[in-house]
């Protein structure tokens, strides 16, 4: 077998770390940007959101290729030596999921964040208290947004393959392993890996739902 069972735990851990970090990284810029956008009165606000919405489905191979050209040794950011490293995949996936994250966050911010913020302010809360209040109240929704963004990151192939190189023990993740297994004709392995990924995602989604229900107390 091209990909052995011993490699599997490493591959899974790597996928989770890489895509998890990518999700956090993307949140770091998506959240402030989304809040800024929702508060803005700029007439082009809606069109910008429209563009972001449409970028959600952008093909991952294309993002992967563009990033490869940027990070390549002969590319503009070649001196960072990021090509074929997990860090490159992290940055790549973070960028990839930004349109999705911003689109989802925008809905949450417009519907919930601004509503609870206004409520807190209208009840006389200080800015600090109001912010905590908003976080408290919108946490379940935010978790769902994070979950969906993480799913997209961990399930994508184009970026991981093109900027990561699918290097054994280094940048091989679940999706690139599946691609390799298919190429090698080891379909059973490919399906098995797919099932592993699916199971992981179901477990995670269920945990988030349960957490949400518990928070509703």
């Amino acid at each position: 077998m091209l990909i052995t069972m011993e490699e599997l735990p490493g591959i899974i851990m790597r996928s989770i770390m890489i895509s998890g970090t990518a999700t956090l990284l993307s949140t770091a810029w998506s959240l402030p940007l989304t809040i800024k956008l929702s508060l803005s009165k700029h007439p082009l606000k809606e069109s910008l959101m429209g563009i972001l919405n449409s970028l959600v489905g952008f093909p991952t191979v294309l993002v992967g290729l563009l990033l490869y050209l940027v990070f390549s040794s002969s590319g503009p950011l070649g001196m960072l030596r990021l090509i074929y490293t997990p860090q490159a995949i992290i940055i790549g996936e973070a960028l990839l999921i930004t349109p999705l994250m911003m689109s989802l966050l925008y809905e949450v911010v417009c519907r919930s964040v601004s509503v609870y913020w206004e409520l807190a302010i209208s009840l006389g809360a200080s800015k600090r208290r109001a912010t905590w209040f908003v976080m408290e109240q919108t946490l379940p929704e935010l978790m769902i947004v994070l979950l969906m963004s993480f799913s997209r990151a961990i399930g994508e192939l184009g970026v991981a393959l093109l900027v990561g190189g699918n290097i054994k023990g280094f940048t091989r993740v679940i999706t690139t392993s599946i691609a390799l297994a298919i190429e090698a004709g080891e379909f059973d392995l490919a399906v098995f890996l797919g099932m592993v990924l699916l199971t992981m995602m179901i477990l995670l989604a269920t945990t988030v739902r349960l957490l949400r229900a518990w928070l509703e107390k």
Partner: protein, 231 residues
């Protein structure tokens, strides 16, 4: 202690240049003020600007003569503790009715046990004790609305802004709210926005008519007569 809120030359827009309030000048003080106008005339926006939630594009919001938006943060907080705005659509938080009623006090840093005691007093006073442990999903819209108003009342503000408080209420609850407003307007300012103010017309001390973001009538008697005619 907030005695008077004056809106001076207020212009407000949600999307740049598409103004929802145009050159609004009004004075709000003790007693019941009705803000009346057709749908989308700017009533809600007017209330939100007057209750210091929204910052106007132009103009000043004067609280007892001092511009609110030029105050330092601690001052602003102090002012806000005397002003409460109740949304048209009830906004309830996760938890029981009791949690919701207490929310305002808790957000101001009041101790939980003290808040609970105060909340229970009010729940008794307004015959709502039976709703105490219910969750937001178990309440009718009218009941939710009531909870929001009681929540605001618990904060004993000098200024209460109520946005369409009578909408979506059944007869019994409407009577309850009208009674409540009559009661509280005596020692504070209550500003009610409505496009159907009929039950409150007699009790109104002041009335403002707004249309398309412009205040078209501020003479209470004139406005009242106009409204009476309409019905």
């Amino acid at each position: 202690m907030v005695r008077e809120i004056v809106l001076k030359d207020i212009w407000f827009s949600y999307i740049k240049k598409k103004y929802v309030l145009r050159g609004v000048n009004i004075k709000l003080r003790r007693g019941l003020t009705l803000v009346v106008g057709p749908n989308a005339s700017g009533k809600t926006t007017l209330l939100k600007v007057a209750s210091c939630i929204y910052m106007p594009d132009q103009g000043r919001v004067l609280v007892d003569g001092v511009s609110y938006w030029d105050m330092p943060d601690e001052e602003k907080e102090r002012v806000r503790r005397n002003i409460v705005y109740v949304h048209e659509s009830p906004i309830l938080i996760r938890g029981s009715v009791l949690d919701n009623i207490m929310a305002g006090l808790l957000l101001r840093g009041i101790d939980r046990r003290v808040a609970e005691k105060k909340a229970l007093v009010l729940l008794e006073r307004w015959h709502m004790r039976h709703l105490m442990m219910k969750r937001r999903s178990e309440l009718s819209r009218g009941e939710q609305q009531l909870v929001c108003i009681i929540r605001a009342l618990l904060l004993s503000p000098d200024f209460m802004f109520l946005d369409e408080p009578l909408a979506h209420l059944d007869l019994r609850n409407r009577r309850l709210i009208v009674e409540l407003i009559r009661d509280i307007k005596r020692d504070r300012a209550v500003v009610v926005a409505s496009n159907n103010p009929h039950p409150l017309l007699d009790d109104a001390d002041h009335a403002i008519l707004i249309q398309n973001g412009v205040v078209v009538g501020r003479n209470t008697h004139e406005v009242k007569d106009l409204l009476v005619e309409a019905w």
